[in-house]
């Protein structure tokens, strides 16, 4: 079954990353239309009516964010493209940045026009060398041909974009940590309120949007709200790029209308589980999302449905684990990730991520003394959700807690019988 390629439409076309390629695909027409024929208010209104929700993980309505920012009188204002794609399992933005960078830039310019900003920054994670190069080149080209810079399309609208490389910190994907990082500090989340839309970069109104969110914008402006809302569900309109990875036959990015089911994604697009094995668990929204099991495969992959199923859409990173996966190992791996990425500011996250990892390490290595240690993880997780400073700490225990909930017997076997019930054969040949 073919994908619904809107955002990925240009990917794979000749020279898609160049200005020529982008123009051939109809690029910068939305920007032209906007600055020539539409008022900023009209654009904000369209984005609001489109129902577009942030694709970075939180799912906040983009139009509302823009409106808050547009209505703040302070200036200058800034548009920031959050390209700090760090959620394990996610690689959708990377493709857009590397192969369709102009779409991102056009989205940013539209945001700038809509909220009244003349400066944009792309905050791209340090590991994305190729994406940064591609963006840099695109910015240069767009500037040379006046799609960016002064007097865009002969109007009074100026918009400049700078590419800013992160340096290896997952927390910088959180928008206020990103702002601190951009301001030349260690990226630690800020106290909210104030919110970035009012006091963001250097204390000025700032609109921070995810890469994928921004690439939706030219479509909304070009094709209109009605066209846009034909895709997806009422409450989660549009398409979504799902990054499918793990034990599937065909991992990759798949763009589908919001609301496609997990089963469709894994079995129809992903070609099912490798070597014909059974699916054991799937994390539908990256490492911060609670895992689901086979029972939940018919859940619709939208904000609302996944939340109702006890997990979340997050960044749309679908990580599939087959029956041979040791879930203690998986939980430990995710816990280790969060321990490594905790910024250290608040006690629950700094100490909590550490202890979850450490206890899981003990379970994994058959060193845990009693099943009470497993309960301690639950206690840790609850308190982190309740009291951590920022979303990282609140989301950090989700995977571990859900894995324990679904696969408690596996943990108990590790503790009581000092053995792993799953025998993992090496999947990497040639070692």
């Amino acid at each position: 079954m073919p994908q619904t390629r809107v955002l990925l439409k240009n990917i794979g076309t000749p020279d898609s990353e160049t200005l020529d390629g982008y123009l051939k695909n109809g690029g910068y027409q939305a920007l032209k239309k906007a600055v020539s024929d539409l008022t900023p208010e009209e654009i904000v209104d369209s984005v609001k009516r489109s129902g577009l929700r942030g694709r970075g993980g939180a799912g906040f309505p983009a139009g509302m964010k823009w409106q808050f920012c547009a209505s703040d009188q302070a200036c200058p204002k800034y548009v920031i493209c959050n390209a700090d794609e760090g959620e394990p399992g996610t690689f959708k933005d990377r493709i857009l940045l590397e192969e369709d960078p102009h779409a991102v830039l056009e989205g940013m310019a539209l945001a700038g026009y809509a909220i009244g900003a003349n400066q944009g920054y792309v905050y791209i994670r340090g590991e994305y060398y190729k994406g940064a190069l591609s963006l840099e080149k695109a910015v240069t080209e767009a500037n040379q041909h006046h799609y960016l810079g002064q007097k865009i399309y002969g109007t009074d609208f100026d918009f400049n974009i700078q590419v800013f490389r992160g340096a290896g910190a997952y927390i910088c994907g959180e928008e206020t940590a990103l702002l601190d990082s951009l301001e030349g500090k260690a990226g630690r989340s800020r106290i909210k309120p104030p919110y970035p839309v009012n006091q963001g970069l250097w204390g000025k109104p700032t609109c921070v949007n995810n890469v994928e969110t921004l690439t939706n914008i030219p479509w909304v402006v070009n094709k209109g709200v009605d066209w846009y809302r034909k895709f997806g569900t009422e409450e989660s309109p549009g398409t979504k790029i799902y990054s499918l990875s793990g034990h599937v036959n065909h991992p990759g990015n798949y763009e589908l209308p919001m609301g496609a089911t997990l089963r469709e994604l894994i079995y129809e697009y992903g070609g099912g589980i490798r070597q014909g094995r059974r699916l054991k668990a799937v994390m539908p929204g990256g490492a911060s999302s609670a895992c689901l099991t086979e029972k939940s495969l018919d859940v619709k992959m939208d904000f609302h449905s996944l939340a109702a199923a006890g997990s979340m859409l997050g960044s749309g990173a679908v990580i599939v684990m087959d029956e041979n996966t040791c879930m203690v190992g998986a939980a430990h791996n995710v816990a280790a990730f969060f321990e490594h990425e905790s910024c250290g500011r608040c006690t629950p996250c700094r100490e909590g991520t550490h202890w979850i990892k450490r206890i899981l390490e003990r379970v994994k290595n058959f060193e845990a003394k009693s099943v009470a240690e497993i309960d301690l993880i639950a206690d840790l997780g609850q308190n982190m959700r309740l009291g951590a400073f920022c979303p990282l700490g609140m989301g950090a225990p989700s995977a571990a807690l859900s894995i324990i909930q679904h696969f408690r017997d596996e943990f108990e076997t590790h503790v009581k019988e000092k053995r792993c019930p799953v025998n993992i054969p090496a999947v990497v040949p040639g070692l």
């Binding site: 910190a169 106290i191 905790s342 250290g344 500011r345 608040c346 006690t347 202890w355």
Partner: protein, 890 residues
Amino acid sequence: MINLTIDNKPVSVEPGATILEAAKACGVKIPYLCHYSKLKKPHGGCRICMVEVEGNPRLLAACTNPVAEGMKVITGSEKVHKARKFVLELLLSDHDARCITCEKDGDCKLQKLAYEYGVEEPRFTGARRNYGVRRDNPFLETDHDKCILCGRCVRVCEEIPAVAAIDFIKRGFATKVSPAYDKALNCVFCGECMYACPTGAINSKIGRYQGRTRDLKAVESVCPFCGCGCNYSLLVKNGRVVKVQPKKNSPVNDGSLCVKGSFGYDFIHHKDRLTTPLIKENGQFRPASWDEALGLVAEKFKVIQAKTGADSIGGFASARCTNEENYLFQKLMRAAVGTNNVDHCARLCHASTVAGLADSFGSGAMTNSIAEIANAKTILVTGSNTPETHPIIALQVFKAVRENGAKLIIADPRQLRFSPYAQVQMRHKPGTDIALFNGLMHVIIKEGLEDKDFIAQRTEGYEELKKVVERYTPEYVENITGVPQEQIIAAARLYATNKPASILYSMGITQHVTGTNGVKTIANLAMLTGNLGRESSGVNPLRGQNNVQGACDVGALPNVYPGYQKVADVAIRAKFEAAWGVKLPANNGLTITEMVKAAGNSLKALYVMGENPMLSDPDLTEVKKHLESLDFLVVQDIFMTETAELAHVVLPVASFAEKDGTFTNTERRVQLLHKAVDSPGEARTDWQILCDLSTRLGYNMSYDHPSQIMDEIASVTPIYGGISFERISKLGLQWPCPDKNHPGTKFLHKDKFSRGLGKFFPIEFQSPPEWPDAEYPLILTTGRVLFHFHTGSMSRRSKGLEEVCPKPYVEINPVDAVKLGISDGEMVKVGSRRGEIQLAAAVNDRCTPGVIFIPFHFKEAAANVLTIAALDPVAKIPEFKVCAARVEKA
């Protein structure tokens, strides 16, 4: 106002207030660890202050979340209790809980909370973080395993002294607080981090293992080092001062201290303390009884008095001693000996301020208060290395600039620690201050920025001033001072228009032969722009010694009685004759500098109380010659100073920690100190010695307690009229305080100058007495450093201070160093027409090319061997800031 309830208690607070602030307002206790009331911005890290807010499934940190109308906050629920307990459990999971040997045991916020919440055996077991203890600096010990990463230390270091020596290093669980590159701490060592630390992670090395809070008796006192007059408690155990604790909410220091205050107190119990009177025989001191020693002094004074007259005896009072002691000292000299030859080291620092401001305004002291500085819009600092000499006042400047957006103008030849914060920094040639400020006034008048109303209503002599500054065009002034014209213009505009503007100055202005004129020039500038008589403005001379203001106030000066009442005034003299019941000499006495010159000639005997001219006075070779030729020299001090070594009789005295009394700080605040410990050996307080000696001289002096002396001071000194020990027992009072109901005076000259109208003095620039030439091509300027005080008799006997700054040095600009082939740390010879010393070169750009700087604390390379004894004709203050010198390889 926002209305909410906390645990069902209704409370109204300002919009923007946090839940924590609202809780405080209605008396609900919310625990916290990372929040620190001295800091403006909350941190929100520890998560102990979590509370429940109705309608919110999560818990909110009370310290970061603002209140909202109708909010219902619950602090006492099971959910809250459990969450807090859990956080404590997490903190303890990784805490080295060896409270048994912890310095903070009993005073630790973590320990208290852990007890309160009943956190017993932590459920998290296994190896802990093990970063160990760092002890690689003289003052602070950092125990990383007791650190809870609340960040208080990091934040205070950045926000209060603006040092930022430490920060969070790495992230997550691996986070620790450390200096850059994990090196040894190298900062101003103020101890602010230690006072802020809620646990035992940061301790004083000086006080470690000497007593914990519950074992200590706190005795309120005043720091004995500089003129800031910081309030603190001496913490005493077994008769020893083992620690100090700054006083919170003090209007002077608000819980802060500098390195000398925090760690310099150990001189109190130094083994070198004098414990018995000493009499010199055959060039050697021998112990003597008090009776014998004081008998000898009385006898000698009487003989000399009879033979060559009372005016052949002189006395140096002390800016280190209390008001009561200085009062008695001048009373003894005047009433018992019969001479006005009494002076003290104010002569060497702010005599020109006293003289100059008395002429311009009518009284010579800081016009405004320390706490007002933070609210000034513009601050002009000139001739003051405030961050080193008055660190606590510098905190106000940092606060003004960093928190309140004030603009800082610096006019100083040297680079200062707050130079990076300056809007305009003018590095003029030493000794060209008058030209520079005339230049500023020229610009102000030319651009019409003067305060015409103020000039018309409150001043006189404006036309004459205008005439003189007319020719000080920016071009002309640039030629003299070396300051670029743009800077002069920028500074003038800023100072004149961004009001209120406050001037802070110190010895860079006063210690010149033109010191009095320099002070008057500054007064001119302030009057010209109307920056006087209002809050956060003014002319603020920062006084150097802990009680130099008080020693002046109570009459330890040769021309005035207590309260600046003139000796020459017959009516005044009559008043004191009546009060003291004795006929008083009518002629003004000699100043310190004059007494030193007269020593061995017309002056036969000298009585020195707690001063050390053998290090503090200019041209030491000459000073020594004179002091050695005295018939009789008495020195009373806590240590055997360079001056005491020359004495015939040395009297051991009590330190500030061993007596009751008052000090008056630089902002005119009279403050109380209390006896904390006994004096070593037979040492007595200065006031007791003075009473004894006076009585032996035939003039009876008898007081049971210093408070009685203060009552007598109040009775004869109008500006101290309302001051008594009882009134200042909680908080000092700022003079003028004329009567018992007067609240004291925050700032001077509000509606009227002390002299009526403020007077402009037209003053021309005049070159310093000695200017570089081919033989001595460099300008030598002298001063203090952060880690030492005055002649070092105290600070150099403090373990930490001496460890961190053990050696004399000369600062030299790299440009000059290259020319001379001198490298950093190399020994060099510095010579002037008066002498030569050897010391290490410190090659850095704190001085401009052509200028060198030597701190004067070090006897082994005394800067004052080189300085010139040229005097200001009015104030008789020496030229410490400019003389010609040369540097050679040693």
